[in-house]
């Protein structure tokens, strides 16, 4: 095992993917010379040169669509959108072009592109620099959506995303870029679509992704002190998501809590809950409870933002509710 930061694992994945495949290129605002706003792409320009690693103007719409066009013409572009909030400017390329090209052209070709983007709060960055918008993309047939919770998965899923023939939205929680973790000496590719059991437990299932996996594990530890053993499923991949893993866990625990940092209403958790209220209905011994952000923009002031983001107390309360 070695110690590695979450952000560094991403950079390593980019480096290894670029070394393995000439057609992988990286572009985005300040990703080359400056090494990225969060340092993820540091060193790539020096290693792979200015043809394959490019700083771009502030033109999100064209960056995204150019990635689509490049992917249709033999490259595997990895484009970065500096904050997920700015993806509002690049929706057409993703939704009307990348997502549909394979289907709409009769499977003549795929669009092997990756869009990396950070979501989430914790930096007092305010309402336009903190949003979690992944639910939008999960609703769009043709896109895949991934969100790693650990450094090992950050590496493994990003490698998988780059290898994937279809467009992948790769979401990184910005509050954990600097977090250090133990990772295996040899990092492995992690297939898209398979959840991970982050903790086993018999009493209730928590489904989470991204930074909230760690928060859920903290909640599980707290609950464990009272003899309540929760299983924590790290979804890893949101579209497709591992329905079977969730259903299997639910079939053992019969109680379900779903956690994400995104706004609760109409979020990713809604689909998981809805699906389990259908195919998992007979397994349910209690209401399905979601823990997400309240229905409001992300507030700036630190105490407000702290209260806004789901924390382990809220998860503990939710688990207690499904066990009541």
């Amino acid at each position: 095992m070695t110690e590695m930061r979450f952000g560094k694992a991403l950079g390593q994945a980019l480096e290894d993917a670029m070394a393995a495949d000439d057609s992988v290129m990286v572009f985005g605002e300040d990703v080359a010379a400056a090494g990225g706003p969060f340092g993820v792409t540091r060193g790539l320009l020096e290693k792979f040169g200015p043809v394959r690693v490019r700083d771009t103007p502030i033109s999100e719409a064209t960056l995204v669509s150019a990635a689509v066009g490049a992917a249709m013409s033999g490259l595997r572009p990895v484009v970065e959108i500096m904050f997920m909030d700015f993806i509002t400017l690049g929706m057409d390329g993703l939704v009307n072009q990348a997502a549909k090209a394979r289907f709409m052209f009769g499977a003549q070709s795929s669009v092997p592109m990756v869009l990396r983007t950070p979501h989430g709060g914790g930096l007092s960055a305010g309402p336009q620099h903190s949003q979690c918008l992944e639910a939008w993309f999960a609703h769009v047939p043709g896109l895949k959506v991934v969100c790693p919770a650990t450094a090992a998965d950050a590496y493994g899923l990003l490698r998988a995303a780059i290898n994937d023939p279809d467009p992948v939205i790769f979401v990184e929680n910005k509050s954990i870029y600097a977090r250090k973790e133990q990772v295996p000496d040899v990092l492995e590719i992690v297939p898209i679509g398979q959840a991970r059991t982050a903790r086993e437990g018999r009493d209730a299932t928590i489904v989470a992704y991204g930074a909230m996996v760690q928060t859920s594990l903290e909640a599980a530890n707290t609950l464990s002190e009272d003899g309540i053993e929760t299983e924590v499923i790290d979804l890893r991949s949101i579209q497709p998501w591992d329905e079977k893993a969730v259903l299997d866990s639910l079939s053992r625990t019969h109680r379900l809590v779903i956690v994400h940092e995104a706004v609760e209403a109409f979020g990713v958790g809604a689909e998981i809950a809805a699906r389990m209220a259908d195919i998992g209905f007979d397994e349910l011994d209690a209401p399905i409870v979601r823990v997400g952000a309240p229905f409001m923009p992300v507030p700036f002031a630190k105490p407000m933002e702290d209260r806004y983001r789901p924390d382990s107390n809220r998860i503990v309360d939710a688990v207690r509710r499904v066990l009541a």
Partner: protein, 306 residues
């Protein structure tokens, strides 16, 4: 090529009236010289991103007639297996990256394609076709800038037919293409888009310049003879009938005649074409309907998760 596009679209028009073609179709009758002229300047490895009015661009890039008709008539053997229709005709094998239902969307796609060509060093050029209406979309600006900044091998072709749907260009866009391109240091040229030879010559020059590195802009002034879509009653329009002198097809035929091509030869080209079209249409009519299950299975690549 012009003749092919014209006759194909005339046939589509009557098929549409007869209810054999579903959805919206946007014909390029009167604008064939643009597609044919630009197409004549391209190689197979070059790529094209097109518009909602893309039949001509697609045919000129070399897509196959049978599967074209099949697509527009929604058959399983259509080039897109009946999932896209008229607004999405595409054939990756000949570098036709698709007609596009989103105005302006082809512009940055072509820029991306040019980025791939440049990065891979394959000497190919990407072409973005777009109408005068698309001039107002912000991606044009972003794409001009990025293409100029990175010296990408891309040719921007503005097909200016004077109309955006039911509104004249003058009520849509105030800049002219030349000044706009010029602001980005991009060389541009305006040509008579109804003169096939002029388009072909200009396109050849600009394609080669783009191939050598750096974007070019070609504006083709042309005329949308039909309505915005088939079935458009065009009540908004009183810009007179098309001047027969300016019809690109008539001009090109006149040119052939002037070059002493005999009427019989011209007639035989036409006859061959018509029978090709007839054959394609019969094949399309006989083709199986689009397959829903196959479509459902093609959202993602096989073997990939989902």
């Amino acid at each position: 090529m012009m003749l092919l596009v014209r006759r194909v679209e005339e046939r589509l028009s009557s098929l549409f009236s007869d209810g054999e073609v579903p959805g919206f179709i946007h014909l390029s009758i009167g604008q064939e010289a643009v597609a044919a002229g630009v197409g004549s300047a391209l190689e197979q490895k070059d790529t094209v991103a097109s518009t909602h009015r893309g039949h001509g661009h697609a045919l000129a890039k070399g897509i196959e007639l049978d599967s074209f008709f099949m697509e527009i008539m929604g058959r399983d053997t259509g080039m897109c297996r009946g999932r896209g229709g008229s607004m999405h005709v595409a054939d990756m094998s000949v570098g036709m990256l698709g007609a596009n239902g989103i105005v302006g969307a082809g512009i940055p796609l072509a820029v991306g394609s040019a980025l791939a060509h440049q990065t891979r060093g394959n000497g190919a050029v990407a072409v973005a076709f777009f109408g005068d209406g698309a001039l107002a979309e912000g991606v044009l600006h972003e794409s001009f800038n990025l293409a100029a900044l990175w010296k990408l091998p891309v040719l921007f072709v503005c097909e200016n037919n004077g109309w955006s749907e039911f509104s004249p260009t003058s009520r849509q866009f105030v800049a002219n293409v030349r000044d706009l391109a010029g602001a980005f240091g991009i060389e541009s040229e305006q040509v008579d888009g109804n003169d096939g030879e002029a388009v072909a010559l200009a396109a050849a020059a600009h394609v080669e310049a783009a191939r050598a590195g750096g974007p070019r802009v070609l504006e083709c002034i042309t005329r949308r003879v039909r309505g915005h879509y088939e079935g458009d009653p065009q009540k908004y329009r009183d810009d007179g009938d098309a001047d027969p002198q300016s019809d690109p097809l008539a001009r090109s035929i006149a040119r052939l005649r002037a070059a002493k091509v005999s009427d019989t030869d011209i007639q035989s080209i036409e006859t061959d074409l018509m029978s090709e079209i007839d054959a394609a249409l019969s094949a399309a009519r006989a083709a199986p309907p689009a397959d829903f299950r196959a479509a459902r299975a093609d959202v993602y690549s096989p073997g990939s998760a989902a």
